[in-house]
């Protein structure tokens, strides 16, 4: 799609994974094969050494598309070369707010994922593979069920695949609504039929994962890239993107933009190209105020950062992250404190409750942000919110707590004025308009604080502006 936008310039997608995805027949085996699907698998099983595949994957620099950005090839090479039963789990839990790329990839091209999984399993001599798909994606799970059935019938799955002696079973496993199951070790628990609670690492799944066996866990998009890399080689893959972030990326852009959706681009295009050029920029009459560059867990960025390249390294340098590649745009109509509150509400709901800093921290932050939004907090509470975030980070079993702490503390830091204004505005609403007589018959206290707030602040031994320490 080529379009000239005053703010973005001419921007074109680079569709590799989503190529021809608008053609509905791509979702069927016949359609996929008519576009060259399963050609690479046939070739690989016949004439390519598994070690070569692992080497190419490593050399390609393909980084995980599920959030952490770890080298996929390295992960494969960590699997021990023993005869133990090994497993592959495709992470299709996709529950991070803002992310919806895996949904599109599975819906439009399920066989691309399945082929990638078969080749990866072949490379790592894995005999059992699973696709763990979130329960809400029932429509996509049905599509995958059908595609897996087709692949079995065509002899691409099962025993002695295409006469090669290689066996692989693939099961589509539906989750049932719990964000935490996207965390790789919780995913393993959910697959083992337990409540999805993260496990202590190490041991890492590559050593001891599903049923205690070595397990490779990768995201849908990561695995969808595999057949392309094996077909075209690592150098071809590296010709896309930047040195540290090679390849293309399906980016989910949503929020206050004209054309929300998934766009596949080379890593390294600018955020402006993505948000303005492709997604059409903010709605008419509005301006961008902030955006999450990598899903709701990423620290927010501001319009000043729109010209940064969209790559793992540039986002990290800007103090944020690329994560799953999901941009949520907030325009000037959005209240940042309330956006922070939505964010904390989500993580509070999804915390599995195993670690105290996460369970209590998400819950406290959510309650404090509620008080900000109702004017019951004081500016000093903002400091407490920030310090609570610092105490969550790095102190938990998994990074769910950090995933709330990072964006919330970035919002408090970058939009502190707005938080203070919100507190003042909301507090003012509890007073009658002449400003003299309080609705509850009490005088407003120093700093416009309600008597209730003042009392709490005094009890906590905190200083009240204009009063000194009481």
């Amino acid at each position: 799609m080529s379009e000239v936008n005053g703010n973005g310039g001419a921007v074109e997608e680079t569709r590799v994974l989503l190529r021809h995805a608008e053609d509905p027949k791509m979702a069927s085996l016949e359609g996929y094969e008519s576009y060259g699907g399963y050609r690479v698998l046939k070739k690989a099983l016949k004439e390519i050494e598994p070690e070569w595949i692992v080497g190419e994957l490593e050399e390609s620099g393909l980084r995980g598309r599920g959030g952490a950005g770890f080298s996929m090839g390295k992960k494969v090479s960590f699997l021990p070369h023993t005869d133990d039963a090994k497993y592959l789990c495709c992470n299709a839990d996709e529950s991070e707010p803002g992310a919806f790329k895996d949904r599109e990839l599975m819906q439009r091209n399920p066989h691309q994922l399945i082929e990638g999984m078969i080749i990866s399993s072949f490379a790592a001599s894995i005999g059992h593979a699973f696709i763990f798909i979130r329960g809400e994606y029932d429509e996509q799970a049905d599509i995958l069920d059908h595609a897996v059935e087709e692949a079995y019938e065509a002899g691409y799955l099962g025993n002695n695949i295409l006469g090669s002696g290689f066996n692989l079973e693939l099961v589509v496993h539906r989750g049932a609504g719990a964000y935490i199951c996207g965390e790789e070790t919780a995913l393993l628990d959910a697959l083992e039929g337990k409540r999805g609670n993260p496990r202590l690492k190490p041991p890492f799944p590559a050593v001891q994962g599903l049923y205690g066996g070595p397990t490779l866990i990768n995201n849908v998009e990561t695995l969808s890239n595999v057949s392309h890399i094996v077909a075209n080689g690592a150098d071809w893959f590296k010709s896309f993107g930047t040195e540290q972030s090679p390849g293309t990326k399906v980016v989910s852009v949503s929020g206050c933009v004209k054309r929300p959706g998934n766009y596949e681009v080379e890593l390294g295009v600018t955020l402006r190209d993505l948000i303005f050029g492709l997604a059409g920029g903010p709605l008419d009459g509005h301006e961008i105020k902030a955006f999450y560059p990598g899903g709701s867990s990423s620290p927010v960025l501001t319009p000043a950062e729109l010209d940064l390249p969209y790559s793992f390294e540039a986002m990290a340098e800007a103090g944020s992250m690329l994560g799953s590649g999901s941009i949520i745009v907030a325009d000037d109509s959005v209240s940042i404190p309330r956006m922070a509150k939505r964010t904390s509400k989500f993580y509070r709901h999804e915390s599995c409750g195993k670690c105290t800093p996460c369970r209590e921290g998400t819950s406290w932050t959510d309650k404090m942000l509620e008080r900000v939004c109702t004017g019951e907090a004081t500016p000093m509470d903002l400091d407490i919110i920030s310090s609570v975030q610092d105490n969550i980070m790095g102190n938990c079993l998994c990074v769910l707590g950090d995933a709330m702490a990072m964006p919330v503390s970035s919002m408090v830091k970058k939009f502190r004025d707005e938080f203070e204004e919100t507190i003042a505005e909301e507090a003012a609403k509890t007073w009658s308009f002449d400003g003299l007589e309080a609705v509850d018959g009490q005088e407003p206290g120093p700093g416009g604080m309600s008597q209730k707030t003042l009392r709490r602040e005094r009890l906590a031994g905190r200083s009240i502006p204009g009063e000194g320490v009481s």
Binding site: E12, A85, F100, H111, G196, G255, P260
Partner: protein, 251 residues
């Protein structure tokens, strides 16, 4: 899930006040308004549990898909998919259904209860014939998700407060309305999942249309269904020679 008053609620089988189910985790499982059947800590004897043959076969087929104990696997792996089968058949994870599943899988009912209570989509109390999940997470909230949830509640008479905290049934008990965290469809914002299919972007007035369609059995808003939607970037082919001359799939 507070004021859920199911039409098939059986007061004979209700919990006395303050009752905690023995052996069950003290969360949703113990508040779902019923006594467990038999001893939840005992693996039921399949000979003593009445299970329809087709259900037994369905459950067994799922268990067989996972590696068995001889391959270091466990029948427990089938827990979530089997609970889905129970929920699809009985409308929710009923105590009877859980005992039936436990008997085939050879695990304890308490175990399946604890799994069911962990997951938002598995319901341990009646959930109506239709489910409407309205996303109220960040992107949908920015584009009117809260108002959409209000509209669904206004139309069905479901309690707004309860709908925002786990779900509430419509006045006639047929439709469950629930605010939900991100459903993975921010491109459709504001959106809802209606009987496990995605629709969006929705306007407040669509809530009324959808409820009428559900009640009359008509197809729900076909023009706003996810499967009718094209790619955001439209139909496009690349001129990039690396893409055009690639040797992989999608050529």
């Amino acid at each position: 899930m507070s004021p859920v008053m199911p039409s098939d609620f059986d007061p004979e089988n209700a919990e006395p006040e303050g009752f905690v189910s023995p052996g069950l985790p003290v969360d949703k499982a113990s508040t779902s308004g019923r006594l467990p059947i038999g001893d939840p800590e005992q693996i039921p004897d399949p000979a003593e549990v009445d299970i329809p043959d087709d259900l037994r076969d369905q459950i067994q087929a799922i268990v067989d898909k996972y590696p068995d104990r001889d391959h270091k696997g466990s029948p427990k792996s089938a827990s979530i998919p089997v609970l889905w089968i129970i929920q699809r058949r009985y409308g929710w994870c009923t105590p009877e259904g859980i005992v039936q599943a436990a008997a085939v899988m050879q695990v304890t009912p308490a175990y399946l209860e604890s799994v069911a209570s962990f997951y938002d989509l598995l319901r341990t109390s009646p959930q109506g014939e239709h489910q409407v999940l309205v996303c109220t997470n960040i992107a949908c909230w920015m584009r009117g998700g809260d108002e959409l949830l209000d509209s669904f509640c206004a139309k069905t008479g479901a309690d707004l407060e309860a709908a925002g905290h786990g779900g509430a049934l419509s006045e006639d008990g047929r439709i469950l309305v629930s605010g939900f965290e991100c459903l993975g469809a921010c491109d459709l914002a504001p959106m809802a999942s209606v009987d496990e299919r995605y629709f969006g972007p929705l306007e407040n007035a669509d809530a009324s249309t959808i409820v009428d369609q559900l009640e009359s059995g008509a197809e729900v808003l076909p023009e706003k269904a996810l499967d009718r939607r094209g790619l955001a970037g439209g139909v496009a082919d690349s001129s990039d020679p690396r893409v055009v001359d690639g040797k992989g799939p999608n050529q």
